[in-house]
């Protein structure tokens, strides 16, 4: 099943992000968004071991996008297509200057550090099996989400549930389960009246 632009817009709507604005800015090559002002790409250039929490150095947009897309291919069912464009569009609206965006960046940065130290490569370069294993090794499969919690809880919040929420609040994600108007998606007042197709 193909994820479309409409799905990304719907996923953003479900979490209150104004995807359209950020999307336009980035696509027209306007340069860095607000959060980029704080970032320090250089400090992240080569592997720094596992001292992931070393301060303000946040991964840049491309690193976050690459890692999140890589995780999405693990988290989403194999029948879903168009994952990269979907995640990319979703993050257009999500990686704004908010505290939430900083949480995503920080957590992805820590996961990238862990990937480097345990597997010798950043998340985006790991095999699908290794990405799956990495998420389980940090404990994100059994952790309860918590945006201020342990690494496992933050990964569950900012990576795993972030991406699952995006998918399953979108019409295509809902349809995978037989619900084309999932909670969080303003899909109108027709579908509840219609019988199974």
């Amino acid at each position: 099943m193909e994820l479309t632009r409409r799905d990304a817009v719907a996923a953003l709507a479900a979490v209150g992000a104004t995807g359209g604005v950020a999307l336009a800015a980035r696509r027209s090559g306007d340069g860095p968004d607000r959060a980029d002002a704080d970032r320090d790409d250089a400090g992240r250039a080569d592997g720094e071991g596992d001292d992931g929490g070393d301060g303000d150095a946040l991964p840049d947009d491309e690193t976050v996008r690459a890692a999140m897309t890589a995780f999405a291919t693990v988290l989403y069912p194999s029948e879903v297509e168009g994952v990269e464009a979907f995640v990319d569009r979703f993050l257009d609206g999500r990686l704004d200057g908010s505290a939430h965006a900083t949480g995503v960046r920080t957590t992805v940065g820590e996961l990238d550090d862990a990937a480097r130290s345990w597997y010798g490569a950043p998340v985006a370069e790991l095999s699908e099996d290794d990405r799956d294993r990495l998420l389980r090794e940090v404990g994100a499969d059994t952790a309860d989400e918590d945006s201020d919690g342990t690494l496992a809880e933050r990964v569950r919040y900012h990576v795993v549930n972030e991406l699952l929420l995006a998918l399953y609040a979108s019409p295509t994600g809902g349809e995978l389960v037989g619900l084309e108007n999932p909670q969080g998606h303003p899909g109108g007042t027709e579908s509840y009246r219609q019988g199974p197709r």
Partner: protein, 539 residues
């Protein structure tokens, strides 16, 4: 932003020469304020904040994500909202209210029915509980007005509803697919289904959007299609009312027969005194009696307006009765967050032994897949398999049951625990009698028969042992013609104080089994008319 607020620009100081001070900006307070604001100087004080309407989608995310509890969605909890539970039955108070501009309607479900005629005459018609000092006829035109004010989508296909004089302001929502499955079973059993009134726009109404199907009505409607009391707060402000948020009233100053000032605390730690000619207390069914008890004095040693000793007494809620299960076919649940069909057929069979109850056919039975997806140890193909397994074939019926007023069910102050201002917190001592428990069983019996007729495998029953409250706080400042038997008179004015009214389900002498807010709204409009009339005479 509206006129009243913009002119004061966040100023929380008292308003000079106020005619009316309304305490609480839920639907009760907001409707009173709106109705009086055009030609009176009105000030509204609310303990909670003014929420930013653009935050609603973020609050919706909280509603879906597992790390937030329901009270977190509207920032309920903490020291401000501390409370105790000394009763046999636990009462989850902070799931049952919101503090802030708009009050608990920010969170509510928005089902709005009129009480039945017999509900006003429980003693006479059913042999239990007191009669109200007013009857359906006294509220009938106010009900119609309340339906227009809130914006109610409904139809006249319910043969069991009390008489009405005009259609609802908006057409009812069409029945759901699962309603059509229930309809076949109900027809076999001779059970009537009919539409149900929703304070939710089936079409654009009053400048507010039609429902767009977000499906998170309870606890938040991002579209503004579900009515909430910010509608009337905004309108009151446009007419010139001053609305002060984060202004928790600590006590009502008074002399023997008049309230003289509402003393309120602001976030900067200051206390202010708002004077007015008339006071309308609209803090909900728990905080209203608490504020009266906190305002005790030499004249009123047991609490303000409490000469009858009934302030806080007779706390009631509706009890939930439900049965759910699965079919071996798709049932198309969780597209929208409200229900579209109900059954009031058994309501007026109520007597001494069995109370009135109403039945609901859910459109949101079983889990929501997106919420399921965020909990569990799986992802990828395993997760989608689990979701397909868990979603799709659920059905459920709910229902509400009347609880009678009892002297062992009450709200009082807990002397051992204080809130963020050092005031004793409310102690909910909730007790439920046998009649309500029997009524739950009776509702379950019918619900079970419908599900069995449908061929459902029954998976859960919310019976007498697993029931819970519907979050409707009633009875705690009872209305009675007799000053020794109630707090307010038939006009909702306190017997003790000439210039103090209570707008709240706290005034209900009995609860019926219909969701209370349409009746709260009708009474609030009536209170506003009485305040206007009294203000036009020397008080």
């Amino acid at each position: 932003m509206s006129a009243g607020d913009a002119s004061r620009d966040g100023d929380r100081s008292p308003v000079a020469n106020a005619d009316v001070c309304v305490v609480g900006s839920g639907p009760a307070g907001a409707l009173v304020a709106d109705r009086l604001a055009a030609d009176r100087e009105v000030v509204v004080l609310d303990a909670g904040p003014r929420f930013d309407p653009t935050d609603r989608l973020t609050r919706q995310e909280r509603a879906i994500r597992p790390s937030y509890d329901r009270p977190d969605v509207w920032d309920v909890g903490g020291e401000r909202d501390a409370h105790s539970n000394s009763g046999e039955w636990f009462y989850p108070l902070n799931h049952a209210r919101v503090k802030g501009i708009g009050g608990s309607t920010l969170h509510w479900q928005g089902m709005v029915m009129r009480l039945h005629e017999d509900d006003f005459n429980s003693k006479t018609e059913r042999g239990v509980g007191p009669d109200w000092p007013i009857d359906y006829g006294d509220l009938r035109s106010y009900y119609a007005e309340a339906e227009r004010e809130l914006g109610v989508a409904g139809a006249s296909d319910n043969p069991y509803a009390p008489p009405r004089e005009e259609p609802h302001p908006m057409p009812a929502f069409e029945p759901s697919y699962s309603d059509s499955l229930f309809a076949e079973a109900c027809e076999e059993l001779g059970i009537d289904m009919h539409s149900v009134p929703n304070a939710r726009n089936s079409e654009t109404y009053d400048g507010r959007s039609a429902c767009v199907g977000y499906g998170t009505c309870q606890p938040v409607c991002p579209a503004g299609a579900k009515y909430d009391a910010t509608v009337h707060v905004d309108r009151a402000e446009e007419k010139g009312a001053n609305v002060i948020d984060r202004a928790a009233v600590q006590r009502l100053e008074h002399d023997a027969d008049r309230v003289t000032a509402a003393v309120y605390a602001t976030p900067d730690g200051e206390e202010h005194r708002q004077t007015a000619d008339a006071f309308v207390v609209a803090c909900g069914g728990v905080e209203t009696p608490r504020l009266l008890l906190l305002s005790e004095s030499e004249e009123y040693p047991d609490g303000l307006a409490n000469s009858s000793g009934t302030v806080g007494k007779f706390f009631m809620d509706h009890l939930f009765a439900g049965v759910g299960g699965t079919l071996d076919e798709p049932t198309r649940q969780n597209h929208v967050g409200f229900y579209t069909s109900a059954c009031d057929q058994f309501y007026d069979e109520a007597d001494e032994d069995i109370g009135p109850f109403k039945l609901e056919f859910f459109n949101y039975a079983g889990p929501s897949p997106v919420e399921m997806a965020l909990t569990g140890n799986d992802w990828g193909d395993d997760l989608v398999d689990r979701l397909r397994d868990g979603y799709g074939t659920h059905v459920a019926m709910g229902g509400l049951v009347e609880q009678l007023p009892r002297s062992d069910s009450y709200v009082t102050l807990d002397p051992d625990r204080t809130d963020d201002h050092g005031n004793p917190v409310p102690d909910i001592h909730w007790s439920v009698g046998d009649r309500a428990l029997r009524t739950i069983e009776r509702a379950n019996e019918i619900q079970r028969s419908v599900l069995e007729e449908l061929g459902a495998e029954i998976e859960w029953v919310a019976g007498p042992d697993a029931t819970g409250p519907a979050f409707h706080h009633m009875g705690t400042t009872r209305m009675s013609a007799d000053p020794d038997a109630g707090v307010v008179d038939a006009d909702c004015r306190t017997h003790d104080l000439d210039n103090c009214w209570i707008a709240s389900s706290g005034v209900f002498p009995t609860s019926g089994a219909m969701n209370p807010t349409l009746t709260i709204a009708a009474l609030a409009l009536r209170v506003a008319d009485d305040v206007r009339e009294q203000l036009s005479q020397p008080l």
